[in-house]
């Protein structure tokens, strides 16, 4: 598709679109972006943008690839290539996107675009666990990231270091962080955690203390949750370091109603318990008892409460609580085993992924709300991990891919019908057309045209005015000319002379009229000849087209039939491969869930063993005490 040369052309939309494709990866809503001027130079590129701007990324991707194939985007080659990279990325094709960015971006004259692209690619790669690739992408970023992304980049770099166990590097990356926003909060929190893991508890604790006591701006739930998380981490770090007195104030800063309250209450109890204040420890632990047994902290409190009672010497209450705990663990283990069975039966993925919901942003899909079912109730934390989400996304992508292939499979049948209809129509129409073609002798018409041209040339050369006169004029001319011999024979009398004079006069007038109109009539003849030329050429072109179509059709038909057959085979092969991959992906997602459930089951089983062991020890102690009592009574 070329552009009409007469139009004034400006193209400003294209680079903006390419940038937007990259920006999309951050989850930015396009609606929030400034509007772009709209002229594009290639219609096909504009059509891709029409789908892209409506977040139909798959449609845009397919159209863009088709446009490349047909060379329909020559005026936007570079932007289109970048857009292709962005679209690949939005479709989860991070490898292909990376290759394009590598090829296109390093030489791109817009460093801001380049830096943003590498940033988002690095982010995606980290989410997918491609740490080395993510590091390389971040390393390519120059210095032009916008201020709102720069903190995230620094945090991302530190996270990557921590992901790979390079804690000292993470510390180096984060240590210069001074800002007081939420990102800096995350950064300091992560640095604190990293330092604790490096064994530098004091330094790590100082960092966590900072986060745990900072009022973040803006004040919202995210900031509060981060503070709670830091205080829990700090409390447990001190507990681990054998500093319960330092642990307790941090844990007590955690909100009682927040998502970290159970961990904090448990920790406060352990802090008291570590200082042998078992009575105080019972206060938070008994508070935990009333909460949901799904929470691991609550499960642990079922053991902690009787432990405290036993330490206080209240063996009967301790035994009652151990028995209660064993019952609760039994019931919970049975529930988890039912969940494991349900996950194995495939119910989990059915619950989590409803493939019928296929909105335009399908490939950006992420599971946000966890359905409340037997299979998913234990999996809240697992569902929030990148690993699980990305695996789930791949599973859903495969489902969408299979649906797409199923739809094409049905269409290919229709394509065969279309081709068949065209074949029949061609076969029906061809004989009458050929008949008509044979009836028209174009060659004879061509010869006649040549003769006509020669005649006109002769008339022009001989200035045969009468030849171009009207029919009446020609008849009159002939009549007047025919009179001449008769008039010549009349003799020389006055009457004869008068008649000859009249004839000459009339012929003269006619000659004058013919001469007057000659030039116009000659021009008209030439115009008619030209028109005849065009008509003959058109007729010949049509004839040629029909003959060419007749000749080409068998080949075209065979080529289209072969293409349909080849595509059918490709669709079938891909359907089969996608179904196999879907099965593997399903087993993988289920294995992740079962790993998680199994870990919970094993933990509860270990708790149960501990409870039984402690109960047995209590009974032993009681029976020893009774024996001592009996012996004492016997002595009396």
């Amino acid at each position: 598709m070329g552009r009409p040369g007469t139009r004034d052309v400006t193209s400003r939309a294209a680079p903006i679109a390419a940038l937007a494709a990259v920006a999309l990866l951050a989850g930015d809503a396009l609606a929030d972006k400034p509007r772009a001027p709209s002229t594009v130079q290639d219609l096909a590129y504009g059509e891709v943008l029409f789908h892209f701007y409506q977040q139909d990324y798959f449609g845009a991707l397919v159209r863009l690839l088709a446009a490349f194939e047909r060379n329909e985007v020559p005026s936007h080659a570079a932007e289109a290539e970048l857009l292709l990279g962005g679209l690949y990325l939005s479709y989860g094709q991070h490898r292909l996107a990376g290759e394009i960015f590598e090829r296109m971006l390093d030489e791109h004259d817009d460093p801001a675009l380049r830096d943003r692209a590498w940033f988002f690619l690095g982010k995606i790669w980290r989410q997918r666990g491609y740490f080395a690739e993510a590091e390389q992408a971040l390393a390519r970023i120059g210095g032009t990231l916008p201020p709102e992304l720069e903190p995230e980049r620094r945090l991302l770099a530190a996270q990557l270091a921590m992901d790979q166990g390079k804690f000292a590097e993470a510390e180096a990356l984060l240590s210069g962080w001074r800002e007081r926003d939420e990102w800096s909060g995350y950064a300091r929190f992560n640095l604190g955690v990293a330092l604790v893991r490096l064994g530098q508890t004091s330094a790590g604790a100082a960092m966590l203390e900072q986060v745990g006591t900072t009022p973040f701006e803006p004040r919202n739930e995210t900031g509060n949750a981060l503070r709670d998380r830091a205080n829990v981490a700090l409390g447990y770090a001190w507990l681990q370091a054998g500093e319960p007195a330092l642990a307790k104030p941090a844990l007590q800063r955690v909100r009682l109603s927040g998502p970290f309250s159970t961990k904090a209450l448990l920790g406060v109890g352990w802090a008291d318990s570590a200082r042998a204040d078992h009575r105080a420890a019972l206060v938070p632990w008994l508070e935990l008892k009333g909460r949901s047994l799904l929470d691991p902290a609550v499960q642990e409190s079922l053991l902690a409460v009787p432990y405290a009672f036993a330490e206080l010497g209240a063996d009967r209450q301790a035994a009652d609580h151990y028995l209660e705990a064993i019952d609760a663990f039994d019931a919970e283990i049975a529930r988890i085993e039912r969940s494991i069975a349900a996950v194995r039966s495939g119910a989990l993925l059915e619950t989590l992924v409803d493939s019928r919901q296929d909105d335009a942003s399908g490939w950006y899909w992420r599971l946000d709300a966890v359905p409340d079912s037997a299979e998913s109730r234990y999996l809240y934390e697992l569902l929030s991990t990148h690993g699980f989400q990305e695996a789930l996304k791949n599973y859903r992508d495969l489902q969408l891919l299979i649906r797409n292939l199923d739809a094409w499979s049905a269409s290919l049948g229709a394509f065969e019908d279309i081709l068949d209809t065209r074949r029949r129509a061609f076969e029906q129409r061809l004989p009458p057309i050929e008949e008509r073609l044979e009836a028209i002798d174009l060659e004879r018409l061509g010869t006649r045209r040549v003769e006509l041209e020669a005649e006109v040339a002769h008339i022009e050369r001989t200035r045969d005015y009468a030849a171009l006169g009207s029919a009446d004029q020609q008849r009159l001319w002939d009549e007047l000319s025919a009179l001449e011999p008769d008039l010549a024979r009349l003799g020389n009398d006055a009457e004869a002379e008068r008649l000859r004079g009249k004839q000459r006069f009339l012929k003269g007038i006619l000659a004058w009229e013919l001469e007057r109109d000659f030039r116009f009539r000659l021009w008209q003849q030439k115009m008619d000849l030209r028109q005849l030329d065009l008509s003959l050429k058109e007729a010949q072109a049509r004839r040629y087209r029909i003959l060419a179509a007749k000749e080409a059709w068998p080949e075209q038909h065979a080529e289209l039939t072969a293409r349909i057959a080849a595509l059918e085979a490709r669709v079938a092969a891909l359907q089969s491969a996608a179904h196999d991959a879907l099965g593997r992906q399903q087993r993988f997602v289920e294995a992740l869930a079962i790993d998680e459930l199994e870990a919970r089951r094993q933990r509860l089983a270990a708790y149960r063993v501990q409870a039984r062991f402690s109960l047995a020890a209590l009974y032993d102690r009681a029976s020893s005490r009774a024996a001592v009592m009996r012996r004492a009574e016997g002595l009396e």
């Binding site: 009409p4 929030s384 690993g387 791949n394 790993d595």
Partner: protein, 187 residues
């Protein structure tokens, strides 16, 4: 990001909790997905490869579909674009080809926005014989001062051997503070 920070914290917590209480094990959640990272990567690479095959297949199917439904020798496609569009809010377009209604399209806000940003919509694709044809488009929407606005634009065109592309372009005529509807033939 939040999740990642949590995961990092959970690891520290698990280590801390392990030794904090005498009888109790840790409560932190294990990163089951992390433990299977290698397996994830193998499957991810497989899914990537399949998706690449699927995209290429879709491209080839798309091209075949167009060739079958609208062969170049008979194809006529009508596109809609918008340049600025300050003076006209598009609601719908009706299209007549040689006196016959061939398209009647009501726009959503999302579609108008996509046009506004530089998208070009293929409003109609059909087949016509070679020779002269007439296309008439009626644009309905809101004009300046929020007044109902309906305008028509006509194009007589010659269909040759190759595909015929026609662009209906809505733009602003700044000098008269009015919208302008232009029909452009592409080569």
């Amino acid at each position: 990001m939040v999740t990642a920070a949590l995961a990092a914290a959970a690891f520290a917590l698990s280590a801390a909790a392990q030794e904090a209480g005498k009888p109790a094990p840790q409560f932190a959640v294990d990163d089951a997905a992390g433990a299977r990272a290698g397996e994830f990567r193998t499957l991810d690479e497989e899914v990537q490869a399949l998706k690449k095959l699927a995209v290429d297949l879709n491209r080839d199917l798309f091209l075949l579909e167009e060739e079958l439904l609208f062969p170049a020798s008979t194809q006529v496609s009508v596109f809609v674009s918008m340049d600025v569009g300050e003076f006209f809010a598009l609601d719908s377009i009706e299209l007549k080809l040689d006196g016959k209604d061939v398209a009647s399209y009501l726009y959503t806000d999302r579609e108008v926005d996509a046009l506004y940003r530089g998208g070009v919509q293929r409003l109609f694709a059909g087949n016509v014989r070679a020779g002269e044809h007439e296309l008439v488009a009626f644009f309905t929407g809101q004009g300046p001062h929020e007044r109902a606005y309906r305008r028509g634009a006509t194009l007589k065109f010659e269909k040759g051997i190759g595909p015929k592309y026609i662009e209906l372009k809505i733009s602003d005529r700044e000098s008269r503070l009015q919208p302008e509807f232009i029909v452009v033939e592409w080569e």
